[in-house]
């Protein structure tokens, strides 16, 4: 599995597209800047929705209204995050594939997506019963709190990818190398 991933990353790294992204100072840094700036749209809207569910923001506006109206700008934000994220990966594929932080980030993203998907169904089914209350029912509050925590984890692990503390080939504990999927050179 890890050697297949590495093989793919090496193939990608050899493409002129990847090399171009990596070597262009302005292109790479502006993609990175766009990725970070779009936090304001994607996670900014998400935070407003979750804070509404927790009853601490926009308590005087129906919860479903906030969630439904901010859904579109949030998804536009996540789309931009995804595209710039793929480009950032493409620019540095080998190191990123073997980054423990990148792997943790992907796991947290999957967990956040599952949480959002479960909560969306629950909210649509039950919204009329609590829409006008300032504080959502316990289950909605748990989902909102979990969402904020998971996305905070995505930010932390995403930022940590840039640091080389646990890069393969360093003096790492064995389980770190295992989790990062370091492939031993033959």
């Amino acid at each position: 599995m890890n050697s297949a991933l590495l093989q793919f990353a090496e193939w990608l790294a050899a493409s002129s597209f990847s090399v171009g992204l990596h070597e262009s100072f302005y292109l790479y840094n502006w993609i990175e800047t766009t990725h970070v700036m779009t936090l304001m749209l994607s996670l900014g809207m998400l935070a407003v929705i979750d804070l509404r569910m927790l009853g601490v923001a926009f308590a005087n506006v129906p919860a479903s209204k906030i969630a439904e109206r901010l859904d579109k700008p949030m998804l536009i934000g996540f789309t931009i995050m995804f595209i710039t994220g793929v480009l950032l990966f493409t620019a540095i594929p080998v190191r990123t594939t073997q980054s423990i932080w990148f792997r943790l980030k992907m796991l947290l993203l999957i967990a956040a997506a599952i949480n959002a998907w479960l909560f969306r169904g629950y909210m649509l089914a039950a919204k009329n019963s609590w829409d006008l209350e300032a504080v959502a029912p316990r289950r909605a509050r748990v989902a909102a709190g979990l969402s904020l925590a998971l996305w905070a984890g995505v930010i932390v692990t995403g930022r940590f990818i840039a640091y080389d503390w646990f890069d393969c080939g360093g003096d790492n504990p064995a389980f770190i190398d295992w989790a990062a999927g370091c492939v031993v050179a033959e």
């Binding site: 970070v36 304001m40 998400l46 935070a47 407003v48 932390v156």
Partner: protein, 158 residues
Amino acid sequence: MLLSFFEWLEASPLGVFMKDLPATFAIVEAVHLMGLALLGGTVLAQDLRLLNVILKDVPSNVVTEQAHRWFKVGLWTLLLTGVPMLAGVATKCYHNPFYWTKMIALAIGILFVFTLKQPLLRSDHASLKPATLKLMAVASMSVWFLVAASGRWIGFSG
């Protein structure tokens, strides 16, 4: 004079603490980004509402009033994490044009929000000219984008 302040800051216990372990800086940086998401989200919620792009069926007075509360939380998060980050790399920042761009834009942004935008938006928006509201929104988004983007570029040029 100014440079000696930056040198003092970097040598202060806070500056030493920020440099002692590489993880300290990275964690503070990550919390800074969470503050960015909150500040940016509440800026966009207000300004896109004033431009009639989102939340059109929620009164704009309600949107700006509610979002501004969390804007302040975001701003405090950014300031309280930004100062330690500066302390860790103060002399580098002193020589970094993006740092100064950011600080000037930040000062303008804070002054703009607290002395102009918010006092104006506290009155009934129906009594204000639509062009004034839209101008406030565009100015606000521009200045906060400049603060955030020039902040990101501090790290690219070291």
